[in-house]
């Protein structure tokens, strides 16, 4: 006899439907699994058999063949266990095919029949409709996550028995039992399948009570604060240069606390990625705060950009919508850093493997910090004795094309004792965040009909349209362009940053003051290093 059940899995970042087909026939007593399966998927036969037996189901001695269609697609993971178990029951004639149709089954089975959480639930549930399913049964611990999607009914189960009872109740049939299949339901009363409340999923998960680093505990560093505020307000990439112990890392860690609120779509996208990467804490719905990722400098290319087979999202994708912080930028492997060029430009990363090309989102704010030289004190020649060649070697670890994609640069300096011991607390993250949110709202209104959302992504062709330079500013930027010998690229970056500063100021037009401030934070270029090397 034959039966099917629907399931799905994550291929790269998108979900694909899988139809689990089971055939039960006479022959040698075997459980054969086919359909281009990874070994963890093939091992499902053992899990399913034990789970069924320990749930009270005794299968007769038959030849069981399970096929996961489409067979040409490579499948991995343990997400199909539940669907396989139910499809086997269907094939034994335990319940009719109608009982299984229109339902998407997700979950890994334990040997005792327990249903364990899986990855990527949010993405799969969001596609359930397009798979022809209006109901999803998934592990209870993924219920919050799954119920963020409102157009399907999502049910959470703890064990296989709950699902069996639900299906028999729904189909209003008495399970067929004969010499081939026996079922002894557990004596203890079974709780029904859980349905999430109307507001669940949309609410943040368990509020993180642990104290996040706050800008109020950062003393002094007015420049770094201001630069961080501007960078976050317009999604500009930021480079901090300074001696060791100047507070670069401290500032970067606090940037997470001033990131603006997320829109629902952003939250969905960020949660999907984290769920696929298996980083979503259990029993949480949508992620409530923007990600802040700070990989160590020993990171490999695939870990940064995504990779493996099948491709797994990397740090750039995990940081999408938030901040990717690279501390000690020159210490990173150069080829690894070069991989950042494309995502910085396009806001997504294309990973091509023989299996196909996968596109992961990568719309992050790059915050990087570095020492100006090996000892860290250049250009303070009283402390730094690095030779120009040493400095050049140190800086050459970062390529100019990468620096070209960083909009802002700020110098970090040593904090003075007076600032450290200052009595009055510094401005808190909450106050900064208010200004940031306002600037983000202004941008959201301005770019409502555009494909980009923030000034940092404003295409250079649209700069003059959205730039709104006042006549004074026009003269000023021309003078600066000539006098400071800017390149076309740095000119565009200054305009983008000025736009953000004007937004922070609540000003419709970009005024000369905004441009002058943007010029102070302008990014470094080759000329900057060469000049510094020649002078010191």
């Amino acid at each position: 006899m034959y039966s099917t059940a629907a399931s799905a899995f994550i291929d790269g970042i998108s979900s694909r439907k899988v139809t689990v087909e089971t055939d039960v026939s006479d022959g040698l007593p075997m459980f054969t699994m086919v359909g281009f399966l990874a070994s963890e998927t093939r091992e499902a036969s053992e899990r399913v058999r034990s789970a069924l037996r320990n749930s009270g189901v005794f299968l007769g001695v038959r030849h069981i063949t399970v096929n996961l269609a489409p067979a040409s697609q490579h499948k991995g993971g343990s997400i199909f266990d539940l669907a396989i178990a139910l499809s086997v029951l269907g094939a034994y004639g335990f319940f009719p095919q109608e009982a299984l149709s229109g339902i998407l089954f997700l979950g890994e089975l334990g040997l005792n029949g327990e249903i364990k959480p899986v990855r990527g639930v949010l993405e799969i549930v969001s596609c359930a409709r397009s798979f022809g399913c209006d109901r999803v049964i998934l592990p209870h611990r993924n219920l919050q996550e799954g119920s963020a999607i409102k157009d399907v009914s999502v049910l959470g189960a703890d064990c296989l028995n709950q699902v069996i009872r639900f299906l028999t109740d729904c189909a209003a049939v008495k399970p067929r039992l004969d010499e081939d299949i026996r079922y002894e339901p557990p004596k203890d009363p079974l709780p029904p399948l859980k349905q999430a409340g109307p507001t669940s999923g949309r609410k943040p998960g368990k509020a993180q009570k642990k104290k996040e680093p706050d800008f109020s505990d950062l003393r002094g560093q007015a420049m770094l604060r201001r630069a961080a505020e501007i960078a976050v307000s317009g999604f500009h990439n930021l480079l901090m240069i300074g001696p060791p112990g100047a507070g670069k890392t401290m500032t970067a860690r606090r940037i997470a606390s001033i990131l603006p609120e997320m829109s629902l779509e952003e939250a969905l996208e960020i949660t999907k990625i984290h769920s696929i990467a298996g980083l979503l804490p259990e029993d949480t719905g949508l992620i409530s705060s923007r990600p802040f990722r700070s990989p160590h400098h020993t990171i490999t290319g695939p870990a940064l950009c995504g990779g493996g087979s099948p491709p797994h999202p990397g740090e750039v994708s995990l940081a999408s919508g938030g901040v990717l912080y690279l501390d000690e930028l020159p210490e990173f492997n150069r080829t690894v850093l070069e991989c950042l060029r494309q995502p910085l430009e396009d806001g997504e990363i294309h990973i091509s493997r023989s299996l196909g090309t996968f596109v992961f989102p990568a719309r992050f704010i790059l915050v990087a910090s570095m020492n100006p030289c090996r000892c860290g004190y250049f250009p303070d020649r009283t402390k730094c004795s690095c030779s120009p060649a040493q400095i050049r070697r140190y800086l050459s670890k970062i390529s100019m094309p990468l620096l070209d994609r960083i909009d802002m640069c700020v110098e970090a300096r040593k904090v003075e004792y007076e600032e450290l011991t200052e009595e009055t607390p510094s401005e808190s993250s909450e106050a900064i965040r208010k200004r940031v949110s306002r600037a983000i709202r202004i941008q959201a209104e301005r770019y409502a009909s555009c494909s980009w959302k923030y000034n940092g992504n404003l295409p250079s062709g649209q700069l003059l349209l959205y730039g709104c330079l006042s006549p004074d500013s026009r003269d000023l930027i021309r003078e600066i362009y000539d006098r400071m010998s800017l390149t076309a690229r740095s000119y565009c970056r200054i305009l983008r940053v000025s736009r953000t500063i004007a937004d922070l100021d609540g000003s419709e037009e970009i005024l000369p003051g905004h441009i002058m401030e943007a010029v102070s934070f302008r990014a470094v270029d080759r000329k900057y290093w060469e000049d510094a090397l020649r002078k010191y």
């Binding site: 560093q221 006098r483 002078k535």
Partner: protein, 389 residues
Amino acid sequence: MENDSGQAPGMMEEEAYWLWLCSCPDLYRSAITALLRYFGSVRDIYQAPVSALDPWKKTGSQAGLKWAGSLAAHKQSKSPEQLSEALKQKGISFVSSTHPDFPPSLRHLPDCPFGLFYRGRLPDPVKISVAVIGARCCSNYGYQMADLLSRVLTEQGCQIISGMAVGIDGAAQSACIKNGGSSYAVLGCGVDICYPPEHTELYSSLPAHGGILSEYAPGTRPIRGNFPVRNRLISGLADAVVVVEAREKSGSLITADLALEQGKDVYAVPGRCGDRLSLGCNRLIEQGAGIILSPDNLLENLSVSIGLKRTGRREKCAGACSKAPAGLSPEEQAVFNVLTSDAAGAEEIAAKASLPLIRTLQILVQLQLKNCAVELSRNRYAGTAGNYG
């Protein structure tokens, strides 16, 4: 060899032999001296058979073996005509110490080179030459003083001699060229090699505004040992030597010592007590070098010591102190007054000028546009030398 016309044919021939001898790799002054003593003249060295070099090959000393071997190879592979053609193609000229164009000030050096390779021109012996030298790792103060002194000297018609190194040397030579003067660089490598590579721009503009000189054959790599040796040419070509910034152990001090041996005047820019970058300069002053109190003061001393004729009217200024330019707003004035010749962070400047940080940043950009401030590295600012003396 520009002035070939009008020279006696014998002279041209000898010049070609000198070029041939000086182009031999690994053959240094001492070896050439020994060869001359043995063979008598450069022509005889060229015409001697390879076997005549055997005595040196047999001495067993490592250096002797090396140069004798390379001279033997040079004899077999290169002819004076080939070498002269190759030089012409590279735009390099050669002058031997016997040629009338050879800088006369170098002739009486005890260790005068046998020939000079150069691009551009040789220094004009009639004009006054001043060497402006100093540390590679210099402070902004040193950089600006080099720039200022070189500019003032150029205005007075002096030629600036230096070593094209990063830091003070480069600053002095760039300032000279920018102000329309002529500057000459003496290199420790072949004149066809730009060393240090940061100075490609300076290197390519020097031949048109002066020259690049070296006693080493084209193609000679920048070897550490060559640099102190070429310092004698810098001091030798100059009528006076100005040391801008030097650590206690510095190549510039070697040049200053050589200058004193050669009977040249040495002037030093004083530094602050305890400033390591200026320790060498202060030591020179202690030992009796002339102290530079201001550009004007230097010019005065030079007119007494080497007869520099002062042209143009320069306003007297007591010292190298910054003078506020006209037309600044009160806020700009406040920020400008805080700026020093040393780089200071924006926050520090804002605190000293008692202005909000963002306003200070804006004013600093305005001051940069008005040439009253420079941004030395990101967010570190200093006043400009444009306002000195």
